[in-house]
């Protein structure tokens, strides 16, 4: 009998190496050189043929990339462990290794029971087959027996809510229906260990609620799960522990709160490139700094959408300018490229005497809390004359990210739109 003290997943010094770009064949060179190399290449290729990834070949010709390096951790029986990290940190590679899809280059891992890996929704689906046929096919592909699928068949159909279309080929389903059916099959797996990659990013609100409910059932039923997500809200509410991967290394293990905080803090501070700063027009010399800060003036790269934030800008004026008159306009672009909003400063007019006394001016633009949506914003800045003549345009002056750590009305996913103002609602009925 397994108890909570038992280990369900034990990862022991696992590393994974990939070779970037296979060996380069047909390098340019004089014909005589190519001919001279031919026998060696033939021998080399023959060797490759039987030992495609042998160490020597990689070191001599290929570029090597370590997707995972010396990763060790344990997950206790019945624990849901979140895997957090940026894109390319090795999260997916880790899941692939633990699902036995690919082998580690070195190290070993132990699994305490049957593993079901949900790395995509609808694994094994075939578009030409009906919903009924696909439930069986996908279930067996994911590791259920035929008898298990048949026993839970009605539950799966119920959960997906597709009973009317059971005998329709899946190719005629809407993408939402396919996702529901795919998740439903996966949700009824009876394995002891679940390995889940970002399945929450799909489906509509009500279905997402069902999925999360199902996942917390998993957490409460004593089964173990490893859960990769970029969704900090979901990690926080579903997981009991978490690990942080950075560039293939495990840099932290702890409670979800600790790990999420470390993950958010790890985002590098954006900088303004020096070439973008020089204005030299309209009496303005250069932009010295441009930062996104909290209200205390601390530079940050990530902001909670519940806190106000400030954009702080410092401009140097040309000390010999006669007089200046300008304003600053900022365009906030959301990560999908939409212009979210624009904001303009009041006009600043300074005489030659004032400029000589204060050649540097500082602008602060406060963005109120509960106005931005979760995501990345990019600021484009324009410096305009009083007559709206453009002195300078700086397309990618600054980037920052916003995040949300609270679930709102049971919704864990992304909110639509480029803004999320805190609108006041009332109802009268």
């Amino acid at each position: 009998m397994l108890t909570a003290a038992d280990t369900a997943i034990h990862v022991d010094a696992v590393s994974k190496r990939y070779t970037l770009g296979a060996l380069r064949h047909g390098d340019c060179g004089r014909l005589s050189e190519v001919m001279a190399r031919a026998p060696r290449r033939l021998w080399h290729n023959a060797k490759q043929f039987f030992r495609p990834n042998s160490q020597r070949d990689v070191d001599s010709d290929g570029r090597v990339f370590w997707a995972l390096r010396d990763v060790s951790f344990e997950v206790r029986q019945g624990e849901v462990c979140g895997v957090v990290g940026r894109n390319g940190a090795g999260k997916s590679t880790l899941l692939k290794i633990l699902s036995r899809i690919t082998e580690p280059t070195s190290g070993r891992f132990g699994l305490g029971g049957r593993v079901a890996s949900l790395l995509e929704v609808g694994t094994g689906f075939h578009q030409e087959l009906t919903g009924r046929e696909n439930i069986l096919l996908s279930g067996i592909t994911l590791g259920m027996t035929r008898a298990e699928v048949q026993r839970r068949f009605d539950e799966i159909v119920d959960f997906a809510g597709i009973d009317r279309f059971l005998d329709t080929p899946v190719k005629h389903y809407s993408s939402g229906m396919q996702v529901r059916l795919g998740f439903s099959v996966a949700a009824h797996l009876e394995s002891e260990i679940l390995i889940i990659d970002e399945v929450l990013a799909v489906g509509d609100v009500s279905f997402q609620k069902k999925c999360l409910g199902k996942l917390s059932d998993v957490a409460n039923s004593g089964r173990t799960a490893l859960f990769v997500s970029h969704n900090m809200v979901a990690v926080k509410s579903l997981c009991q522990s978490a690990i942080l991967l950075e560039d293939g290394r495990l840099t932290m293990k702890g409670t979800p709160d600790q790990v999420i905080a470390a993950h958010l803090a790890s985002f590098a501070l954006p900088t303004v490139s020096s070439s973008a700063r020089i204005v030299n027009s309209g009496g303005i010399k250069q932009i010295t700094t441009c930062h996104a800060t909290d209200i205390a003036g601390e530079v940050q790269a990530k902001f909670s959408i519940d806190e106000p934030m400030e954009i702080r800008l410092e401009l140097d004026l040309q000390p010999d300018a006669e007089e200046v008159s300008f304003k600053v306009v900022m365009h906030f672009y959301f990560d999908d490229g939409t212009l979210a909003f624009a904001t303009a400063s009041q006009e600043l007019s300074l005489s030659a005497v004032e400029i000589a006394q204060h050649p540097r001016c500082r602008w602060t633009c406060r963005i109120p809390s509960k106005s931005l949506n979760e995501g990345q914003y990019m600021i484009e800045m324009l410096v305009l004359s009083a007559e709206l003549q453009i002195f300078g345009r700086y397309p990618e002056l600054l980037r920052f990210e916003t995040h949300d750590v609270k679930s709102r009305q049971g919704w864990y996913g992304k909110w639509a739109g480029v803004m999320r103002p805190d609108c006041r609602w009332s109802v009268d009925c």
Partner: protein
């Protein structure tokens, strides 16, 4: 107390099954394959269903193909002077005897060659022993084979030929055909996962193979005696000849010829297994 801590760790990990980088050596793990037998069948059934979806005649294609081939070759050989068989049995029966196993062989090899590359998306998302893919790709071809075999018996009976008692060897021969096809499938599917040239070469090689095997003719009637020993180094020639022995009482190839074929095929089969095992570790990363 570190000693105690590691003790309790060991106890907590007692239930774990460990995995690490394999050396890629060894034959197919039959015990594991047995655990995945339902998957072999599920994939096979999928391919079978998908193949005849949106077709009009459906499974009748399994009948149409050999019959049309016999018709065309029958006419061709008659125009050329008609020396394709010894004439003791009608040409349609002789030719079908060769075509039924050959078409199984050709279909099984064509489909299994692409089995790994076609399913590469699946390979990257879920674990199963990779040998499941070439194995399951044999199922649609086997169904066609069984149907065609029934047609063959019907054609024999309608020509007034009763199969001899040697008919009992047919299941054994079918197994032999599957094993010879598997010999090629192991190599070709693993190679095609990494070198896609293979899937272009295979149909071409199969066309040549049909000519150098006694498919639409009888070897005794066509191949000069001096060439017979060389001709029967082709293991498929032996297999097809054995079908004619079992169904039509044709002459058995010599014991030495059978022995050479059996030995060479066995060696290539096991080498193919080793090669597949060696390469399957890289399917998910490279295919």
């Amino acid at each position: 107390m570190p000693a105690n801590a590691s003790d309790s760790d060991t106890r907590a990990r007692a239930n774990l099954r460990y995995f690490q980088a394999s050396n890629g050596k060894g034959l197919i793990d039959l015990r594991e394959l047995w655990l995945f037998r339902e998957l072999v069948w599920a994939f096979g059934l999928r391919d079978l269903k998908v193949r005849y979806r949106q077709t009009v005649v459906g499974i009748a294609w399994a009948v149409v193909q050999p019959l049309c081939t016999v018709l065309v070759f029958g006419m061709l050989i008659q125009w050329l002077g008609g020396r394709a068989s010894d004439g003791s049995t009608p040409y349609v029966v002789t030719a079908l005897c060769g075509l039924v196993p050959w078409q199984f062989f050709a279909a099984a090899i064509t489909q299994s060659t692409q089995s790994v590359s076609i399913n590469s998306g699946l390979l990257k998302k879920v674990y199963f022993p990779r040998i499941v893919l070439p194995l399951s790709s044999f199922i649609p071809a086997s169904v066609d084979f069984l149907i065609a075999l029934c047609i063959l018996v019907i054609v024999m009976l309608s020509n007034g030929i009763l199969p001899s008692w040697k008919l009992v060897f047919i299941p054994l021969l079918a197994l032999l055909t599957v094993m010879s096809a598997m010999t090629f499938a192991l190599w070709l599917s693993a190679l095609n996962a990494i070198y896609r040239d293979v899937q272009f070469a295979v149909p071409f090689a199969l066309q040549l193979g049909m000519i150098v095997s006694p498919v639409v003719y009888e070897s005794q009637a066509v191949v000069p005696t001096d060439w017979q020993s060389l001709y029967f180094l082709n293991p498929l020639a032996i297999v097809i000849q054995l079908y004619r022995c079992a169904l039509l009482d044709a002459a058995l190839p010599s014991g030495l010829q059978i022995l050479i074929s059996a030995c060479s095929m066995t060696v290539v089969f096991f080498l193919g297994m080793l090669y597949f095992r060696r390469m399957e570790r890289h399917f998910a990363d490279r295919s």
